[in-house]
Subunit: 205 residues, 2 copies
DNA sequence: AGTTTGAAGTTTACAATATAAACATCTGCT
DNA sequence: AGCAGATGTTTATATTGTAAACTTCAAACT
């Protein structure tokens, strides 16, 4: 929880609204997110949110931004706990990413799918996901310098990896994969296979 | 266009509604899809669609189903035009997939993101995407038998590839990638890099 | 041919929601 | 103490999904 400046009536309604929105998304899915429900859960009238967000899209954007903060925190925590090896840090933060994405599927969807945004779309989201990715590129560059990862532009490598990971969790969260492998594997095994393929792609044995 | 049985008043309103929905999604994005707009474009009253679809979700599901039909057609066409080599067929149909996904971003999003569906979600969509994927697995198996693709369960290979491709087009369509590579590369170059990485992963040189 | 009937379409009505506008209240500054 | 502006509330409106009652017309049966 971040430290917030005390506010007038409610305390800090803006934060409370974002918090409430998170819960509602988790409970009812992205479609269940209504301004009125958010306001009610925060204990204010249905018009109160408009004092803090111009419209629903802006509330969602704040929620998304908060989501990337949380994701970044988790990835940083995992990285810190992983020791000095940049590849181990890379792996640990990647695992944190997967765990976040699959632990809060509805939230993850909101963060990445522009679907909920009516007016403002991609433009508004463009920047939010940069931080984690940039750090990953750094990891790769360092691992390359240490000779444990195949040479090549780490930015392109990172894009490829991010595509695989994002695609995998998106499809997995939507149950688009399980019918492909039936009962031959557990979801865990499939996940491990994909992760292994990523490391193979980097030339790590 | 499939042959359809003639209907009462309109001719074939069901198909016309799906067609109209496609256009609206393309013009206004997924959020712009309203029953009333669809009905108006098809030239009927706003309640007429309810004679053909129990609710909005079912209209969307029909649109999604139609989308996978179209996608399958394009992939089949590309595969047929690609000669006998299963790997070439695989590559051609993959290219068709990418071209579809990036040519109709809003439509692609509706097909894969459950976001638009309020009540019925993933369960309803689970089956729609099977056909193309199964054919891809066959391609891989044949290419393995011919010794041009690394051994291993082709289902798992396919899942990994599908994850990468789906993740890439999703991120690219949402402008989530371009700020990562700035002006160092063209989008085309990045796409080619990702495709190359996929083939490298299969052990194809 | 005339009648019936059910599918297809229309009109009307209603509830939920986003959002605007006018009004009320509280807090910090003077 | 009093003011001003930020924060909330109430009331109102337009959009939308959807239900219900009514209409119309093609086709089957007599």
């Amino acid at each position: 929880m971040a430290i917030v400046k005390a506010a007038y009536h409610h305390g800090d309604l803006r934060t409370a609204l974002i918090e409430a929105a998170l819960e509602i998304i988790d409970e009812f899915g992205p479609q269940g997110l209504t301004i009125r429900k958010v306001a009610h859960r925060a204990g204010v009238s249905h018009a109160a949110p408009y004092r803090h967000f111009p419209d629903k899209d802006d509330l969602i954007l704040a929620v998304v931004e908060r989501g990337f903060e949380l994701l970044d925190e988790e990835m940083d925590r995992a990285r810190s706990a992983a020791g000095d090896d940049p590849l181990a840090q890379f792996a640990a933060s990647g695992e944190a990413y997967l765990s976040f994405a699959m632990g809060y599927p509805a939230y993850y969807r909101v963060m990445f799918s522009g679907d909920l945004l009516a007016s403002k779309g991609n433009e508004a989201l463009r920047h939010t996901s940069a931080a984690s990715f940039v750090r990953m590129i750094d990891d790769l560059r360092m691992a390359q310098d240490m000779g444990i990862v195949r040479q090549g532009d780490p930015t392109l490598q990172a894009i490829s990896i991010v595509s695989t990971v994002h695609g995998f969790v998106s499809l997995a969260n939507d149950n688009r994969l399980n019918h492909l492998y039936g009962n031959s594997y557990t979801p865990e095994q499939v996940k491990d296979f994909v992760i292994t393929a990523i490391f193979e792609g980097l030339g790590v044995n």
